[in-house]
């Protein structure tokens, strides 16, 4: 069953090509998604009432609709508005939009979890608003949001495979082409699965390391 020529000459080069595209999707989508989620989360936590409502609506809609549907909508809707995107661009955009909504949930939750007493104590010492946010609120909120946001990035690694649905040739897409050409579905997708397993495992290790590195005794995530 194992055919070295097929694996090393055909399968792995294709998957490595796809892996680069996957990484090119995952890295910018997680960074921009997090930044977007940070902004939206702050607005939902502290913004004017209409901003909060807007942010809540955005989050509810994105979280209520499958990513596959959102991806198709963006892929097919943008050309109607005169914006032409490569499949890559459409996939990236929809990952950012989706990721930002989930991140904003964790950011908002973390901000709201900080007790009034912490803020009062900072005020009592003469901190101004910026100093309070920078030195007291942010370091605590970041630790509370880390597990959720990290998990969201791990989800994103797996969901990046959906880019295949709009013909973006990433890991999944390359695998599908090889599988369809050779009809060796089992071998190909075991290999593709292994690639994802490695990425997810590495990301999990990194996340655990970060959590451990910045853990404070008795400062729980709830």
């Amino acid at each position: 069953m194992f055919d070295p020529e097929f694996v090393f000459e055909e399968l792995l080069p294709a998957l490595n090509r796809g892996l680069l595209v996957s990484i090119a999707l995952i890295v910018p989508a997680s960074i921009l998604g997090f930044l977007g989620g940070l902004a939206i989360g702050c607005l939902r936590g502290f913004g004017a009432p209409w901003m909060r409502r807007l942010g809540d609506c955005y989050t509810a809609i994105v979280r209520g609709v499958p990513l596959a549907v959102q991806l198709m909508m963006i892929y097919f809707a943008l050309p109607k508005l005169g914006i032409y995107f490569e499949p890559y661009g459409a996939a990236l955009l929809s990952f950012i939009i989706c990721s930002a909504a989930y991140h904003s949930e964790y950011v908002r939750g973390a901000l709201l979890s900080i007790s009034q007493g912490q803020i009062k104590a900072a005020r009592a010492l003469g901190f101004n608003t910026l100093q309070t946010v920078l030195w007291i609120v942010a370091p605590q909120a970041a630790r509370r949001a880390l597990p959720g946001c990290g998990n969201e990035i791990i989800y994103l690694i797996k969901y990046s495979s959906l880019a295949y649905l709009v013909t973006c040739m990433e890991l999944m897409g390359e695998g599908k082409v090889v599988a369809s050409d050779t009809f060796r579905f089992t071998e190909v997708f075991i290999a593709v699965g292994a690639y994802y397993l490695v990425m997810v495992t590495l990301a999990t290790w990194l996340l655990n390391w970060l959590e451990k590195r910045y853990r404070i005794p008795g400062f729980g995530s709830h």
């Binding site: 989050t59 509810a60 809609i61 979280r63 209520g64 609709v65 499958p66 990513l67 596959a68 549907v69 959102q70 198709m72 909508m73 097919f76 809707a77 109607k80 949930e105 939750g109 797996k158 969901y159 990046s160 495979s161 959906l162 295949y164 649905l165 999944m172 695998g175 599908k176 599988a179 060796r184 579905f185 089992t186 071998e187 190909v188 997708f189 075991i190 593709v192 699965g193 994802y196 397993l197 997810v200 495992t201 709830h222």
Partner: protein, 229 residues
Amino acid sequence: MDSLSVIINALPYILGGTFVTVGAVGAALAMGLCLGVPFAVAQVYGPPLLRRLVALYVWFFRGIPILVLLFLFYGFFLSIGLPVNPFVISCLVMGCTSTAYQSQIFRGAIQSLPSGQLKAGRALGMRDGQTIRFIILPQALRLSIPGWANEFSILLKDSAVCYVLGTQEIMARTAAIAARTHEHLALYATAGVIYFVLTLIVLKLLQKLEEKVRVPGYGTHGSAALKGA
């Protein structure tokens, strides 16, 4: 033909896919529940080897995208000569994934219970199996409802990718009509609304369930997962 009439004409057909979607998700959730509970118990109370095995299973099914698993199972079914039924494969893949996720929800709930619960059961002369069945699980399952509701809403959304194998659910039917009429945006938006409403309905039902099984004064740590939609 304008978008509206396309949607109106297509709606009965797409809505028919709701039954397929709900059926597949329901089957997967049921499988996840039936296997997830024993997996969780095994991972907390089982012998070391069993714990390892469960952890390995969870690692595997949480680390690979459903899309990849669908094709992997498909290929596996082909290669051993089983009949390839897209609906069955979809249910199986989602069921295996959900088992992994649900087992972790239940495990978290079991471990959040005070250790005195097990001790108290033993002190009364119960065997560990009895304590787990009559003391631990009734509490842990109540605590799991919010996480479980969350798992349902994730699974419902993930089920949309099952159309790649040709399972005739909401997404597949939408794609089929879109390819014929080229009204992609309007049709996918319709599908989005159907998923959204479906999520809302089931989350409401689960909230009802949570209220019904609530024990006075026993916190199910706020149903945060339920409120989020």
